[in-house]
Point group: C2
Chain length 357, copies 2
């Protein structure tokens, strides 16, 4: 595997330096601890949205920092959770007095560290809420994760909640919206090839020349099964039907009681999709798959949805949540309501997400 | 090589169908002959910008059809020129009475077919001008091309000329602007891997596990040399210095005399870049290289430009002119004037280029 890097150890830092240099009008980067933040942060009186996770999934999350989306993002090393220190300092940097929403993908390391950051922020008098994204229907309780993994819905939640914060929603309202987006989003992906983590310089997993991994995790975690590569229409059908036929998904998650400074358990249910629902359809490249192939997947997905009386009213197609140079794709379907549509359409200006301004 | 396709023969058609379905608010696709066009075309009184070329470089050109950029794009089969018939019918579809500018990348097949389409359009009473893009400093007179190849500057010319047409420039003005953009743009790229054309399903060229091709063409054409893979900083330096030190480039091209319906030769010169120049820096992925690595290349490019007293005032970083899933990158530097900056910043809304609206 060849990469455009200088040394594996410098990969994340140099990439962030280049990014900050290329988009100096939108973002700044802080090192020790590392986080990317809006140049105009803190925005007084606005809820700040902060996310983060391992690097290697670019443009998520750093490319989503800017007006109408994230106030800050905390990148860890490749496929490695950022530290509580990063999350806490990012929160302090962007806190405009209306509180912080941490959007957390459901991986054990991320969850643990964001929970710790939440407690640290509380002890410093910063209001924080903490919402999990766990939308991957592939597997339950897998490598690195209890429950379902957090994947494509994260990008959509960051856009929608970022718009809400920009429009003046308070912290409880933004958190409730984020929870609702998560409960209405489902994803599933496949890999045609492995990716290679720079410090290792060997493929994360082995895949035969005619094999694909169904239900791949974004760090190369095993999915549901390994099968021979199928034609694009069959791949699209398999992913779409697994998502559309997923029954109600019930789980208990920990949320933060910011008045009393303690965690409590809450039972959440993702309702099944139904005829007549309106959707945002997101076809994502894992990094190495070109957009021309994503459109072939989307073509079949749209046919399937139309055949079931499901209405795709918004689309997002491209490499938005990648696994380095992995080939493959994922589909995310998010059931939309009118409020979410309005927030999706709202202006956004970040390095990798831009419209309306 | 695995791909998300159904059959190689259906690749282009199905991808276009998916694209049209995903972006029905922006574009429509016509088959037999094949072209993608703005849903609101023809725009009466506006110069229409039409481009095209082989498929496999997506999002170029089809992803650039929409308000403020292209009125139509003609995709050929993968790495194969579209036909004069496609170009003529696209021109008829989008002609709003103010004429058509064909933006043509300098490859022999594209040039020949766009020239034929120009003559056919003339015989049907449509005003057409025809501007070549030949910005690749890698090689002169190579496989498929006389003179320099047309690469990254094409994307920038389409954006800038599309904005000019949207703002009411007449056909001669848009053509002159396009020529000026081309003469002020220079590009060079490298490949870390080959790409695989669907109908062939074997790599276009062989590259050793530690080799890179310097000066790669976007169809996998040979470049200047094949060397061992270098660290990103050395790659960025090599590309940047080749571009920055390129001397005045003089060539004779054919342009169309639309009053008299004949071709004439014109000598054009790309002036060398100089200290104090303002630039748009475009770091492009060949398809399989993730954006995180592009930022590492950009980081070094920005350092080199700063060291030479060159001012990067706009950036574009991502997969905008790809070669299927090829790994590698290209750098394009476009010397900007105030008019070009204003047009670059103007609103645009296409499937893959969007800001300001």
């Amino acid at each position: 595997m060849k990469k455009l890097i200088n040394s594996p150890e410098d990969f994340v830092r140099e990439s962030l330096e280049g990014m900050a240099s290329a988009h100096a009008d939108l973002i700044k980067v802080n090192f020790e601890p590392t986080y990317v933040y809006r140049t105009d942060a803190p925005v007084q009186g606005k809820v700040a949205i902060v996310s983060g996770g391992g690097s290697g999934h670019e443009p998520m999350h750093t490319g989503y920092v800017g007006m109408g989306m994230l106030d800050a993002a905390c990148p860890g090393e490749v496929f490695t959770s950022p530290t509580p220190d990063q999350m806490l300092e990012a929160a302090k940097q962007v806190d405009g007095g209306a509180g912080i929403l941490y959007i957390v993908k459901n991986y054990s390391g991320d969850v643990m560290n964001f929970e710790m950051a939440t407690e640290l922020a509380y002890s410093e008098g910063i209001k924080v809420l903490n919402i999990l994204i766990d939308d991957d229907v592939a597997v339950k309780d897998s490598l690195y994760t209890q429950g379902r993994r957090g994947v494509g819905t994260t990008v959509l939640a960051e856009k929608i909640c970022g718009a809400a914060a920009q429009q003046g929603y308070n912290l409880q309202q933004v958190a409730e919206l984020c929870r609702r987006v998560n409960l209405n989003g489902r994803s599933l992906g496949i890999a045609l090839s492995s990716c290679t983590v720079p410090v290792r310089m060997a493929p994360t997993f082995d895949l035969g020349t005619s094999e694909m991994e169904v239900g791949i995790g974004i760090h190369g975690e095993p999915g549901r099964k390994r099968i021979n590569v199928l034609p694009a229409n069959e791949i699209a059908s398999m992913l779409a039907l697994s998502i559309l036929d997923d029954s109600a998904y019930k789980r208990v998650v920990r949320e933060w009681d910011m008045e009393n400074g303690k965690w409590f358990d809450v039972e959440l249910v993702s309702p099944p999709f139904q005829k007549g629902d309106k959707f945002l359809a997101f076809v994502n490249s894992m990094g190495g798959t070109p957009i021309s192939e994503l459109y072939i997947i989307y073509r079949k997905l749209a046919q399937i949805c139309a055949g079931r009386g499901l209405d795709i009213v918004r689309t997002l197609i491209g490499p938005y949540m990648t696994s380095l140079e992995m080939q493959g794709c994922s589909i995310t379907l998010l059931k939309l309501d009118d409020e979410m549509i309005k927030l999706w359409d709202a202006p956004v200006k970040t390095p990798s997400f831009c419209w309306g301004v």
